[in-house]
Symmetry: C2
DNA sequence: TGCTGCGATGCTTTTCCGGCATGATAGGAT
DNA sequence: ATCCTATCATGCCGGAAAAGCATCGCAGCA
């Protein structure tokens, strides 16, 4: 039994006339007769009552017609579902992200993506950078939006830059730096720094090392925090100062003072991390495209 | 797209190996490769990721596999449903009947039929004889169990005798006939009869005419009733006497007296009425067979 | 570096689908 | 009564397409 038989039977069942059905199917009437006869023989049931005035459906034929109609419709739907998935118009993507560097990117991206691909469910995963990388590698995440990974994190992944942010320094009003207009990197060397924990955010520490490398100095961490809120609290408590990005200012707001960091060309690089042997799904591709759009827009309007 | 493509794809999706899938399908591997390639081309989606170590399903392939499995299963179920219907193991039949003549036949028949064809829904229709005939003619009833039709009722129908019953006369204890051991037909001529209404039960009146014809007499109806219960009430009230079958005695019981009717060879003939150009469904055929069995059993055990 | 297992490709064979011509049948018109 | 016509079935043939066979290319592995 092939779909052809079923399509043909539906045509006959609707036209109740072999000749007309054959015309509609664009085949000759004898060919149709044969196919229907084959079908009936195969399932071993008389589906039609032939007469010289046309055909009528037997009770079995009526039942079969109804069943087959449903089946053919279902086949179309199935194919269409798969096509929609292939076009990135359905399905789901898992997007990992670091909350702090993406506060300005993610919300508009989600909104824009929802517009162009309303059928795609976007599953967000707020994870530490190591977890993000791991997720991208084992393909539980189609992509991650985060600061540029470094060191062994880069293996098996590829990074695409979305935007860079200048670096600032955050401190309390009581700190000596508060009187400066900007903070040169050299002055940072002697300061006690508050940073993210080396365990959960290894790339953060590596970044600090890279930042101080030109001065042949090492960062001096007074505290390692595992979240932005505790980091802010530590700085506010006067335990030390910290590096800040424009986004950081959005989160911490007026609780702290901010000064531009000078004496370095380093910037905070935020972008998309994907699996290196990328077998990108169309939906994920679209999402990346949206991210690029959002970032170029924000870059030009600023 | 043909079912062949879908069956092949399921095989590949399960084996995740063209060679093994081809073996299972009993075709050569290249043929399978080709068919799958054709399928992918037709729906325009890559369903499989090929490698020299085998194949794996893409997200689209996974979705398609699940859909297609369901579809193929559904196709099998549909065919099986139709076959069951053709074998008389499912579906429904509409059986008309006259309650009075069928009190002993119908219940055991239903029970026996339920045993051999539990999937068939039997719809019972208690109708007047004219309605039964009409139902059989327009095929809203597959069959009717009733007394033998006569006159124009027989047109377009055929009757199959199931059983005959001797005729009795029913009366009150106060009636003169109550002192007789049996009632000869000649004595009935002068009596006031209670019968069924000529409008709803034309064959009943025709039967009476046939009964009295040898005596060149006509039945004298004192009352025409439209149901057995009102007829019994009329007789009990002493309005007249009535013809009775053994079944009638079962219904009316001890409220009346019964005497055998003699002087005639007429009997009450109960049987199956079907459409003449019978396109009998298997289920209805089975039901008729059951009826025959039940009646021959009852005839021998009596 | 050969070996092995995999899927793809080129070519041939076989199957079977579709087309044409024709047959069989039964209403309906003349 | 007979022809006409509409309908579905059958016989035969050509061609499309499926299946088979041999072989290639590729990649992992010993």
């Amino acid at each position: 039994m092939e779909l052809r038989h079923l399509r043909y039977f539906v045509a006959v069942g609707e036209a109740l006339n072999f000749t007309k059905a054959a015309a509609r199917l664009r085949i000759a009437q004898p060919a149709l007769s044969r196919q229907i006869a084959d079908l009936e023989e195969e399932i071993g049931v008389n589906l039609l009552r032939r007469s010289s005035r046309g055909v009528s459906l037997t009770a079995e034929g009526k039942l079969f017609l109804a069943e087959i109609r449903e089946l053919l419709k279902q086949a179309d739907v199935s194919v269409e579902k798969v096509r929609a998935l292939a076009r990135g118009q359905s399905g789901e993507i898992h997007v990992g992200y670091s909350p702090l560097p993406t506060t300005e990117i993610l919300p508009p991206a989600l909104a824009a993506f929802r517009k162009i691909a309303p059928g795609v469910k976007v599953m967000l995963h707020d994870l530490s950078s190591d977890e993000l990388i791991a997720g991208v590698r084992n393909e539980t995440l189609e992509l991650a939006i985060m600061v540029e990974p470094s060191g062994e994190q880069t293996a098996g992944t590829k990074f695409e830059l979305l935007r860079t942010s200048p670096l600032w320094v955050a401190m309390t009003a009581a700190h000596p730096f508060a009187r400066l207009k900007s903070v040169p990197l050299e002055k940072m060397v002697a300061e006690a720094l508050i940073g993210f924990s080396r365990k959960d955010y290894p790339e953060y520490y590596r970044f600090l090392e890279r930042l101080f490398a030109p001065l042949h100095a090492k960062p001096r961490l007074a505290a390692e925090c595992d979240s932005a809120s505790s980091l802010i609290a530590e700085v506010e408590a006067g335990r030390g100062i910290t590096l800040a990005s424009p986004n950081f200012k959005l989160v911490a707001g007026k609780r702290l003072l901010y000064r531009p960091l000078t004496g370095t060309t380093e910037v905070a690089s935020v972008g998309i991390v994907r699996a290196a042997n990328a077998d990108m799904t169309p939906a994920a591709d679209k999402f990346c495209e949206i991210l690029r759009q959002i970032c170029t827009e924000q870059a030009t309007t600023t």
